[in-house]
Amino acid sequence: MDHLVAYIDPGSGSLIIQAVIASIVAIPFFFREQIGRLLRAIRRRDDGLGTEANRTPDRSS
């Protein structure tokens, strides 16, 4: 903090409450991120399977 050229008064209350609010909103944020990552992984795997399925002989005939 002290290294910043803090020419704007950040407000003590604002900094303290920011930490509290950030901690709370981080919980749903974390899960949303993880779920998003999981869904992307599943979609990638499904796409991979789909490509393989296209290569099966009875499909191509």
């Binding site: 050229v5 509290v20 609010i21 950030a22 944020f29």
Partner: protein
């Protein structure tokens, strides 16, 4: 005065004095930004990081080119000089429509998000650091990025809430006209005031409850604890995940705020004019002809509504600043521009009878409407009766204002026989004996010469093209 070395004298921008790391000035009509010796290490770090380029490529930050150090306005303090891309017209948050302020807020958050990923921080989140260029909001303060301290909270969080979240929440949840509060509170709307003005139900809205209501209470709580609170806040630590979560929460809160224009006075005016389709086509053609003849680069469309005639000016290659008193009309105009990608038009909110004054320190930090006048032509269609009859402004004064704004004028006279004027007069006494075509000619003839005129066929209105004679004083 002979021109030696740096050429003509530098003029420091009266609104650029708060940040010790540099400032904006003009020299020879160019806009330049000096980076001070005190910020030398910070500037080198920033330049080497590639962050500025990333932000510029993503359209979040105004582009710039290096300028010679000899151009510095205060050479003894100078470390570097840059030449930022010029903004066509500097507008202010209280002149933006709801959607414009919202887009400006999202650009600010996006910039902080990108900066954070690169290990930097946006240390200044004032709405005045955003301008509209080619139809889109963009940050203009190249010096507001700095290397972040790991674990430090976002220093501009409070400022962001005061400059963006509070006015947007008030406009969306209480009344769109509260946007004008920004004109009085140039450093952002105090959060305790916003909390008091917002409907009580917004306390149960997760985003607004936290970032405005709880935030305001925390400010009050720690306000009288002075150094003790300052020490506590200095120890406050916010992990990178939490930092991202905070920005994400602000983004979600802003995106959820919505205001759709309806019911305000002129929102669907364009669809309910007194014109027939034929008369509209005639007027379109006349306006196009008169604007083409008037020439120039910049047109100020006063009373632009949703921009029918602004578009005609833009089609002629003019850059247009499209003012309207109604925030609903300006919002619709902005949405149309975003939809069509019309880059040359800037829609803004303004009450011409009470225009934007000079604001901030010495009344110079933010310039008045007339202080920013850059138009070659003022376009005033279906406007004069609103000012003359609706607001009791004598025609001479209307002429004088337009003469101060631009050397060219394309103006429509709307006589008392017109249904719109009859409507204005229906509820009040007619105390306007001089409001006639002859009175209009006399009043405007004092300051302008009529270059051409034509009746708008199918109506009682007359369109004039006028020019302000070059005075030799």
């Amino acid at each position: 005065m002979p021109e030696i070395g740096g050429g003509s004298p530098a003029q420091r921008d009266p609104g650029s004095f708060r940040d010790p790391s540099g400032f904006v000035f003009t020299r020879d009509g160019s806009i330049l930004r000096q980076i001070n010796e005190s910020f030398a290490a910070g500037w080198d770090d920033l330049a080497a990081s590639g962050l500025l380029t990333t932000l510029q490529e993503r359209g979040l930050l105004i582009g710039h080119t290096p300028a010679p150090i000899e151009d510095a306005a205060l050479p003894e303090q100078a470390y570097a000089v840059i030449r930022p891309e010029r903004i066509d017209f500097v507008s202010y948050p209280f002149e933006w429509s709801f959607g414009m302020l919202r887009d400006a807020a999202l650009v600010t958050l996006e910039a902080q998000s990108v900066a954070h990923q690169a290990g930097f921080v946006l240390r200044d989140a004032t709405a005045y650091n955003v301008q509209f260029q080619r139809g889109r909001p963009i940050l203009i303060d190249t010096l507001s990025f700095e290397r972040g301290v790991p674990g430090a909270p976002w220093i501009a969080y409070r400022q962001f809430c005061e400059h963006f979240l509070a006015p947007l929440a008030l406009m969306a949840h209480r009344d769109i006209r509260l946007g004008m509060l920004q004109r009085d509170f140039v450093d952002g709307i105090p959060l305790d005031l916003a909390a008091r003005l917002l409907p009580g139900r917004t306390r149960w809205n997760l985003g607004l409850g936290a970032h405005i209501h709880v935030h305001a209470r925390a400010q009050a709580r720690f306000a009288d604890r002075g150094t003790e609170a300052a020490t506590a806040s200095r120890k406050t630590s916010v992990s990178p995940l939490r930092q991202r979560a905070l920005i994400d929460s602000l983004q979600r809160t802003i995106r959820k705020l919505d205001w759709t224009p309806e019911g305000t006075e002129w929102a669907d005016y364009a669809d309910h004019t007194s014109y027939s389709e034929d008369a509209t086509a005639v007027k379109d053609g006349l306006v196009r002809r008169f604007l083409a003849a008037a020439g120039g680069n910049v047109v100020w469309d006063m009373g632009a509504n949703t921009g029918r005639f602004s578009r005609i000016a833009a089609e002629l290659g003019r850059r247009v600043v499209a003012w309207d008193v109604d925030p609903a009309a300006t919002e619709r105009h902005y949405r149309l521009i975003r939809r069509d990608g019309a880059e040359g038009i800037l829609p803004l909110v303004l009450d011409l009878a009470n225009p934007s004054p000079g604001l901030g320190w010495s009344g110079e930090e933010r310039r008045s409407l007339e202080g920013r006048a850059n138009a070659d032509v003022v376009l005033a269609l279906a406007l004069v009766h609103h000012l003359a009859i609706g607001r009791n402004v004598p025609l001479e004064r209307i002429a004088a204002l337009f003469a101060r704004l631009a050397p060219g004028l394309v103006i429509e006279f709307v006589p008392k026989e017109d249904p719109m004027v009859r409507k204005l007069l229906a509820t009040r006494e007619d105390v306007f004996p001089d409001y006639t075509i002859d009175g209009f000619r006399a009043a405007f003839g004092e300051l302008f010469e009529v270059a051409e005129e034509a009746p708008v066929t199918g109506t009682d209105r007359v369109l004039f093209r006028m020019t302000r004679p070059i005075t030799t004083t």
